[in-house]
């Protein structure tokens, strides 16, 4: 019996090795089929694990952009882009390995990703060391682009959004008391909360309650009950849409009728699907509005739905834009040299994508309009576009 077990185990390992080799050679032969003229770009994001919803959306968005570019004849006179997609499970050590693999083994010229801030922090270091540019679609942590000259992002950074919302609450809405409910296991949420509180107080408002929750929480009643007791005029919830829907529902069930405010994490059809009427009248900052009638936006939305039979969340258009940005930069660099491509990225100006027109500040953060959206009659509606 024992011997049989050992044999089975060994066979299993061997079979796997064969499978691996197969995968390896399959990868090789695929490369051979594309007749040389190929630009390799890496994609890193969580396709499994807790953050997979963003990773998969981002991947889909990037793929749509690359397909469009290739269908239109590629870049640099006939070079086709090959996107090498890697799953980092949202894990930092996986990211380190993947960065090394993409750069050393696969010789990519640039990388789209990582999607979340933690892994991007790790990737930034290696990108700088090896001088290969990375463009993160959605990593909003304030510091990441200052970690290395080779990190660019197409989304806003955390405190920028918090600042805009704080201003909006105090000036546009004219409110005096606010409560904050944030995810303190998430740096994105913490960053927005800090910036909101700072701005709101500078403009004369008072933060009457500051409550925290942890990733994966389902029950927000305890925090909301505390908030209800303070009776604030607005509640700022810098979290992701599925948490937001929960919070809205539970808040309304507790009889809280304050105005809810949020960041780009709110931007998903799922917010309305999940929260229903509870979402009415909330405001949030975001990258673009699906209601935007511009051809670029509508074209993207149609393509996404066609290909994936689902509504994209905000990660998809941002990754789409990241891919556009890279392709544009490679075109302008004129050759497949990572350093030149990076320079071209920083020099980008007026490139128009789904989420707006891109130029970059000295820290390679995008200078583009912030959209403030609301929910009206079960639909997102554009409130304002704010320029810094």
């Amino acid at each position: 019996m024992k011997k049989k077990g050992l044999v089975v185990a060994i066979v299993a390992v061997l079979v796997l090795t064969v499978v691996v080799y197969f995968a390896f050679f399959a990868g090789k032969s695929k490369q051979a089929n594309t007749n040389g003229k190929v630009v390799k770009i890496g994609f890193i994001g969580p396709l499994t694990g807790g953050a997979a919803a963003y990773g998969i959306n981002a991947k889909n968005g990037a793929v749509i952009a690359i397909d469009e570019i290739n269908a239109a004849g590629g870049i640099l006179d006939g070079y086709k882009i090959e996107l090498l997609i890697q799953d980092n499970r949202g894990d930092t050590s996986e990211t380190l390995t993947i960065m090394n693999k993409l750069i050393d083994q696969d010789k990519v010229v640039a990388i789209i990703g990582p999607v979340t801030t933690g892994p991007t922090t790790v990737a930034a270091d290696i990108a700088g060391q090896k001088k290969v540019p990375i463009v993160s679609p959605t990593a909003t942590g304030d510091k990441i682009t200052s970690l290395s000259d080779y990190v660019t992002r197409v989304c806003f950074y955390d405190s920028y959004q918090g600042l805009i919302m704080g201003k909006f609450a105090a000036d546009n809405l004219g409110k005096k008391t606010a409560a904050i409910l944030f995810d303190n296991t998430n740096d994105y949420s913490m960053g927005l909360a800090d910036a909101f509180a700072r701005t709101f107080q500078e403009l004369g408002g008072t933060v009457v309650s500051n409550e925290a929750f942890s990733e994966g929480d389902q029950d927000f009643n305890a925090q909301l009950t505390n908030i209800a007791a303070k009776n604030p005029e607005v509640v700022f919830v810098p979290a992701y849409y599925s948490d937001d829907a929960q919070i809205l529902l539970q808040a309304r069930a507790l009889g809280i009728d304050a105005i809810f405010l949020g960041g780009d994490g709110w931007d998903s059809q799922e917010l309305i699907n999940g929260a229903g009427v509870a979402a009415e009248g909330c405001y949030f900052t975001t990258h673009y509005s699906p209601e935007d009638t511009s051809e670029k936006v509508q074209n993207f939305l149609i393509k996404y739905k066609e290909k994936h039979q689902s509504e994209p969340n905000f990660a998809a258009p941002l990754a789409y834009d990241a891919a556009l940005l890279l392709a544009d930069a490679i075109e302008r660099a004129g050759e497949l040299d990572s350093v030149k491509i990076n320079n071209a990225i920083t020099e980008t100006s007026g490139l128009s994508g789904v989420t707006g027109e891109f130029s970059f500040d000295e820290n390679r953060n995008p200078i583009k309009e912030v959209t403030i959206a609301t929910v009206k009659d079960g639909k997102f509606a554009l409130v304002d576009k704010v320029r810094p």
Binding site: T48, A52, A53, I56, N221, Q223, A253, S310
Partner: protein, 292 residues
Amino acid sequence: MGLFVQQIVNGLALGSIYALIALGYTMVYGIIRLINFAHGDIYMIGAFVGYFALTTFNLPFGVSLVLAMLIPAILGMLIERVAYRPLRKSPSIAVLITAIGVSLLIENLAILWFSPDPRPFPQIFPNMPLDFFGIKISIPQIIVFLTSVALMIALNFLVQKTKIGKAMRAVSQDKEAASLMGIDTDRIISLTFAIGSALAGAAGVMVGVIYPRIQPLMGVMPGLKAFVSAVLGGIGSIPGAMLGGLIMGLTESLVTALISSTWRDAIAFGLLIVILLVKPSGILGKSTREKV
């Protein structure tokens, strides 16, 4: 004071869900001494079955709840048959690793099939607060609490009064003696998994009702917390699991309200360790002395 009572109400609703999941843990542990790590994932499957029954097939709530108990029950039996029964005589740690493997497998298959995106659970009951002397209790909270209590009473009846229940208790006392008494222990173990999984499935639907969001990894933390609840109450003891679940829910709610949610998990686990040190058998468990 009103605030405090309000937090207790919140804690009871959360606690009743922990209690439902904890029951499955406690029953399985009581009968084969296995921490069934996949139990939290069965709860997730229950939530998804409920979701599809309510949305895709437009079934009424009662039917959906029954389905969400039935399918996890079958899944629970299947897991026991395929993954745990062949290891009945292996060291417990090997079975534990298998359980972890099953848990990972279910989670990752669910991500593949259902996509990792969180889904909003359909709102069946009006999301409005009822006011009891200043204490606000929402209709979903009431539904969840009452359903959970009803299921627990039913389970207690099953275990205490029926023949099957007696057989289950006998097997958990002494497997060999029970089989000598003519009890088909494999069948009873299978049945225990079925009942425990059905309760977890029900808990999944309850969670959908009260916190209407479901996703493939939703079972991980509640699973862990429910197990802690089971240990807290005295593992192997059914009233213990109920008590443990309620204590857990109340503690979480009060810690979040009075201290901070960030310390909540630390305090929940701290409580567990204190209980284990003071009374390792849990609040309602019976202590056993090793014979020398």
